[in-house]
Structure formats: C-alpha cells, structure tokens
C-alpha cells in the first residue's frame, strides 16, 4: 500500500533534479505567501470584487500584462539556462532530455504565453479608448478569454513539477510528439494547455473585430482610426481565421495520443507531415499576430514623438490588409526541406517574398514620418527607433530563408534561430516594452522613470545585439538548432561565450526594467493631466487611469489624430458646447468566467493524465457555467449622473 503510494507520487511529481525541488519549494512558498498576505490584509473580497470578477477592459488588460510579465520571467530563465549550458563545449549543466524540455517550454511560453497575452493586454488597454468606446463589444467574453488564457498557461506550467515537461519543441512535430515515441504526460500538457488558451484567443479575436467595426465613436470612419487600432483590426482578422486550424491540429494530435487515432502516426497510414502542414497553417499567420500590433504601437509612438502625423497612412493600412491576405499562403516556407515537389516550393518561395514587400513599405513610412520631425527621445521612442534597424536585419535574413534552395543550407541552423529572434525580440519584445512604457501612465496614473527606463533600454538593446548578431555566423559555421552540447575544436566556442554574455546582459536589462516598475510604483511622477506625452489619439483625452466608463461624453470625431485636432481647436479658442451628463449603461461584474475557466483547468488536468473521472466532470462544469450564463438576464447597471459628476470632478474635468 505504502509502496504503491510512493511509486505513484514518484511518478506524479517530477523528481530527481535539485532544480525541480527548488522550483517545488519556491512555488509552494510563493503560494503560501500570496494566501498569507491576502488573508492578513483582508484582501480576498477586494481581489474577488475588483479583479477576479471584473469585466472592465482596462483591468483585464492589466491582468494580461502582469501574467505575461511573469511568463516572460519564466521564459527568460529557460533562455538563460540554455545559454548557460551552451556557453562552453561538452557541458553537462543540463542533460539532453532536460535541454529538450527547456527549449520546448521556452519557445511555447514566449510565443503563446508572453507575446500574445502581452499584446492582448495592450490592446485591451488602448483600443476601446482610442475609438471612444465605453467597453469592448462583449465584456463577459473578454473576461472569459483572459481566464482561459490564464488557466491554460497555469496548466502548461504545472508540467514543470507535476508529471514532466513536454520536450518535442514548440512546434511539437510528429511523429516524435506522438504517443508511441513520447509516452507520458508532458506532450498532453502542451496540447491541452495551449488548446485552452487558444480558445480564449479566438474569442478575443472575434471580440475586438466586432468592437472596432461597430463601436467607434460617431464620425470615426475606418480611415480616421488610429494606426494601432487598425493594426488590431487586421490582427483580429488573422486570429479569427488562423486559430481554428490550430484548434483542429491540437485536437487531432490529442485524439491520436489519447484514443489511438492515426492522423500523424507512422503506422496505419498516418501522415506526420500533415502535422507540420496544419501547425504552420496557423503558425505563419501567428507570427503576424505578434508582429502587426507592434507595428501599430511603433506607428503611434513614432508619430507622437516626432510631433507629426503618420506618413503614408493609407499605404500603411493597405499594406496591412495585403499582409492579412498573404499571411495565409506562405506557410510552407517552414518546411521547404520536407521533400515537396518543385512547383510547391516555388509557389511558397514567391509568396513569401511577396509578403516581404508590404512589410518593407512600412519601414519607409516610419522613416519618412521621422524625416523633419521634432524628435523627442523618450524611452518609448528609443525602443521604437531601435526597432527599425534591428528588425530590418530580421526581415532581410527572412528573405534569405525564403529562397527554397538556399534554405537547405540555413534550415534548422542557428542562422534560423538568430533570424526569428531578430524579428521576435527586435519586433515583438521591443514593441511590447515600447507600448508598456508609453501606456503605463494611462494604466496606472504615474510614469515609469525615464532615467532607469533609458538605462534598461540601452543595456537590453546592446546585449541583444551581442547575443544574436554573432549567432548568424555561428549558424553559417554549422551549429544546428536544438543541439544540447557540442565538441571543442569546431571554432564555435568563442562565439558561444560572447552570446552567453549578451544573454546575461539582456537578463540584467530586464531586471532593471522590473526594478523600475517597482521603484516607480512608489516614487514615480504622477500623471495628473491624462496626457503626459502630448498624445495625438483619443486615449489621452481621458483621465489617467481612465474612469470606469472611459468617456463621460462619447466624443465626436472629425479627423485623424482626433485628440491632437481637439487640442488645436481648443488652443484656437473654439468653445465646445458640452451637453449635460446622462446615466451610463455598463455591464455587471460576473464570477462565471473565472469559475468556468477553473472547470476547464480541472478538465484539462484530467485529460492530461487520462483520468476521465476528472476530465468529464470538469467539462460538465464548463457546460453548466454556459447554461447558467444563458439564463442571466440582469447583466447591466446604470451609473447615475451624480456619480459621473463626482468622478469627473475628482479628476478636474467637470464640464
């Protein structure tokens, strides 16, 4: 009896490695700490009422960003572990199996649980404000999306201490990821954790698509929208149409593993290449999902701090539209080398080069916006300016990879790893840091410190180049991707040492940014005007942080850069006629999203371990929550005029 319990525990919990016990201990300590603090300060009710049940897009945005920062920390630790292992030849800091797990969780977490949620967070904060709306189209669904993402991420991360991590790479290629070669629960964690958060992403896509299409303030035609909003509109289209393919791919592999189907197996007629095909059918649009929004952020920031309106607005828009269409016909460039026929490789090679054109066009738009602008070097602007050259290197090497015959040389070498980090770090990560500094005052009402911000920028940016520039050459020298160690004497050692120094520097840069966040929370400059940067778009017309209802009066829009135009009109002495306040219609808070997602987590955990006694009740719980929601009719309330007046008076904007 005792023995069987022991052997169960030994199998259930990941054992053996001191690092794991360290993680176990720290998870336990942090959990106990959180519970203790909440209990001591009697904050449980506050947490439930203000955060867990909120449907306010601004709070949901903040929760996304906090979660994404935590995940960035975990993904960054994984990266540092890999770099530590690779610094010198023949190291055994991580063994082969462990290294596989680390690059798998690193890649998956960075893409699915950092880049996407960070972007979702920023768009939750900014989009409704930029279009003059009071909330998103479906506030309930918005909360549900967040909680599905959150519990999906938790499920995935649980694999580190319970049951074992996935190890088939973030692309989870069959047949290695199949049940036969990869028994155990690790791969199930990947499939189900990512699936749960993917459902949330799909819902977010629909939500923002409809919000932007239907909830813009009067007068804001599509071509008067801020560029960030445009980028989110296009991104939402891509999310809506790419994610269903991923949902299916993940489900099919889950069915393969759990129920013995043969979609991607080698036996019984399955087709491992079909997995690669479906995965990248989503995977390529996914890279645009994490890039277009940051293009939008850079457009806003560059226009704001060059004090000019964006150059070539219409060109920007149409190039994004072109990207949304083209992004669905380039996916094969990720597996040129799998033995396709020549016409297939030729088609996808050309389509990939085609999609580089609209992307390149945008670079020129930013440059021309800067041209003759009065440039102000704030922290967000520094991130935006650094993005242009660094990202361009990623873009140019991407076109190199797009040439199918040449790709036989580059494929799965460190050249590729350097390429996608140039786009993902210099693009996505610079972009989310840029947006974080830019919108921070709007989120919290105080600024992040500029001096520390600039230091963290320079350290991170220079270290990034130290880490990833040499990596291209390492790739050309023959070091392949996902290699856990290498022999001495190949001439790779010096480059690897330099790269690890760069990686450590990026860690320091990020740590400094984290310190800046904490420091500024205590001593940061307050933003009393709501418009600390002299912004051009509507979000800066509200208080910082914006009131629950965003706008006491829905603004009337007459031109692009609406807020800049309003400020000009005010300066020119045009008096605005302000109608009296009205009661404001707002959605109620609800606990259903978090409870439903918790059931999803329980179901997911059950299916990971193939414990159907747990999985099926979990799913029943999910359905019960849906039914319960369907019968809720009283889901709105009105904020009375008096309350609106008070709130407006408190921020000095009573009209």
């Amino acid at each position: 009896m005792i023995d069987s319990v022991k052997s169960f525990l030994g199998w259930f919990f990941v054992t053996g490695d001191p690092m794991i016990y360290g993680a176990d201990a720290s998870i336990a300590l942090v959990s106990i700490g959180i519970v203790a603090v909440l209990t001591y300060f009697k904050k449980w009710k506050w947490l439930w009422n203000e955060w867990l049940t909120t449907v306010d897009h601004k709070k949901i945005g903040i929760m996304y960003i906090i979660a994404a920062l935590l995940m960035l920390f975990r993904g960054g630790m994984d990266a540092l572990m890999m770099r530590a292992q690779l610094t010198l030849p023949n190291m055994h800091f991580l063994d082969a199996e462990h290294y596989n797990q680390v690059f798998t969780t690193h890649g998956t977490i960075m893409i699915i649980f950092v880049a996407m949620p960070f972007i979702f967070g920023l768009m939750n904060i900014a989009v409704p404000l930029q279009i003059g709306a009071r909330d998103v189209a479906y506030p309930f669904l918005n909360a549900l999306s967040f909680w599905l993402f959150f519990f999906g991420a938790m499920l995935f991360n649980l694999s580190f201490v319970i049951g074992g991590s996935p190890d088939a790479g973030w692309s989870s290629y069959a047949p290695y990821a199949g049940a036969e070669m990869n028994p155990g629960v690790g791969q199930n964690y990947y499939l189900i954790g990512v699936q749960i958060s993917g459902i949330g992403s799909l819902a977010t896509g629909i939500n923002f698509l409809v919000t932007i299409l239907k909830m813009r303030a009067p007068g804001m035609t599509l071509f008067k929208m801020p560029m960030f909003t445009w980028s989110i509109l296009i991104t939402s289209v891509i999310v809506v149409f790419a994610f269903p393919a991923f949902t299916v791919a993940l489900a099919l592999m889950t069915i393969d593993r759990l129920f013995g189907a043969h979609f991607f197996t080698i036996a019984a007629g399955g087709s491992p290449m079909l997995w690669a095909n479906l995965f990248w059918f989503w995977g390529h649009p996914e890279v645009y999902i994490v890039l277009l929004p940051v293009f939008g952020i850079f457009s806003e920031v560059i226009a704001t701090f060059a004090h000019k309106t964006l150059f070539g607005y219409a060109v920007m828009v149409w190039s994004m539209v072109a990207i949304s269409v083209l992004s669905f016909i380039t996916w094969l460039h990720h597996f040129f080398t799998m033995g396709n026929t020549a016409p297939v490789n030729a088609f996808f090679s050309i389509s990939t080069m085609l999609i580089a054109i609209p992307t390149g066009v945008k670079i020129f738009n930013w440059l021309f916006t800067l041209n003759k602008g009065r440039i102000q070097f704030t922290t967000p602007m520094l991130w935006a300016l650094a993005f242009i050259p660094n990202f361009t290197i990623g873009g140019v090497t991407g076109v190199m990879l797009a040439m199918a015959p040449a790709d036989y040389q580059y494929h799965n070498s460190y050249f590729l790893v350097a390429h996608f980090h140039s786009t993902l770090i210099a693009g996505t990560v610079f972009g989310i840091f840029c947006g974080l500094h830019y919108w921070w005052p709007k989120m919290f009402g105080y600024m992040l410190d500029e001096v520390k911000g600039k230091w963290s920028f320079w350290i991170f940016m220079i270290s990034f180049n130290i880490c990833f520039m040499p990596m291209y050459f390492l790739g050309l020298m023959g070091m392949t991707r996902r290699m856990y160690t290498y022999p001495a004497g190949l001439g790779w050692t010096p480059i690897n040492v330099v790269m690890s120094i760069g990686a450590a520097g990026m860690g320091i840069g990020f740590a400094l940014m984290a310190y800046n966040i904490v420091w500024s929370a205590v001593r940061g400059k307050k933003d009393t005007t709501g418009d600390p940067w002299n912004g051009r778009t509507l979000e800066w017309a509200t208080a910082s942080p914006a009131a629950e209802y965003n706008f006491a009066h829905i603004p009337e829009i007459k031109s692009r850069d609406a807020f800049a135009a309003m400020k000009e009109a005010r300066a020119a002495g045009h008096a605005e006629t302000v109608p009296p306040y009205k009661a404001i219609h707002m959605p109620n808070n609800t606990g259903i999203p978090v409870i439903m997602s918790a059931f999803m987590f329980i179901a997911g955990f059950g299916f990971v371990f193939e414990w159907y006694w747990m999985g099926i009740p979990g799913l029943i719980g999910v359905v019960a929550c849906m039914i319960a929601r369907s019968f809720v009719y009283d889901d709105h309330h009105y904020i009375p005029v008096e309350k609106v007046k008070q709130t407006e008076a408190a921020t000095g904007r009573l009209s």
Binding site: K214, F241, S271, M273, F328, V344
Partner: protein, 101 residues
C-alpha cells in the same frame, strides 16, 4: 418591444419551400451523377462539388439572411474571408501532400 419594428405579414413561405425543393433536387442530382452515371472521376468530382457550392449558397441567401442587419457588409466580408481561408487550407493541404495521397 415597440410596434414600429418590421413585422412580417402572414403568407405562404415561398422562399423556404423553394429552398427546400432546390436542396433536395440538387442532393438527388448529385447522387445520381456520382452513383448513377459513370463519368470520369475528376469530371464527376468537379460537378458534385459545384452542386454542393450552389446548394450552400442557397442556404446562405434563402435561409440565413446573410444580407440583413444594420451593416451586412461586415458579415459578408467575414464569410468571404472564411471561404478564402477554408479553401486555402483544403486546396493547399491537398496540393502539398498530394504525392502522399
């Protein structure tokens, strides 16, 4: 509920009945072409797929009111993009993996 909303008058649901008859006819026609005739395989497939697409549009326009709403252009664009992507995934997958068929 206010009284100004458009309210349909009683009357025979012609649109629905015609839709049903067309659907059933097309279904049996396709069956007959596939099973009853013995045209070359790719010709048969081209015909039955065209019939299916035609029938799908009948549902879309006669039953689903896809052109209604305050701004029907939104759902029309959505469905069009959906058709584009769905077509791409089917055609692309078949083309790429054709040698494995």
């Amino acid at each position: 509920m206010n009284g100004t909303q458009k309210q349909l008058k009683a009357g025979f649901p012609w649109k629905q009945v015609i839709g049903l008859i067309l659907s059933l006819t097309l279904t049996f026609l396709a069956l007959w072409i596939a099973v009853g005739l013995s045209l070359p395989v790719h010709v048969t497939i081209a015909i039955i797929v065209s019939l299916a697409i035609f029938q799908a549009f009948i549902q879309l326009f006669m039953f689903m009111h896809v052109t209604e709403g305050t701004e029907p252009v939104h759902q029309l664009m959505g469905i069009l993009f959906g058709i584009y992507v769905a077509f791409t995934v089917v055609a692309g997958t078949l083309w790429i993996l054709a040698y494995a068929l």
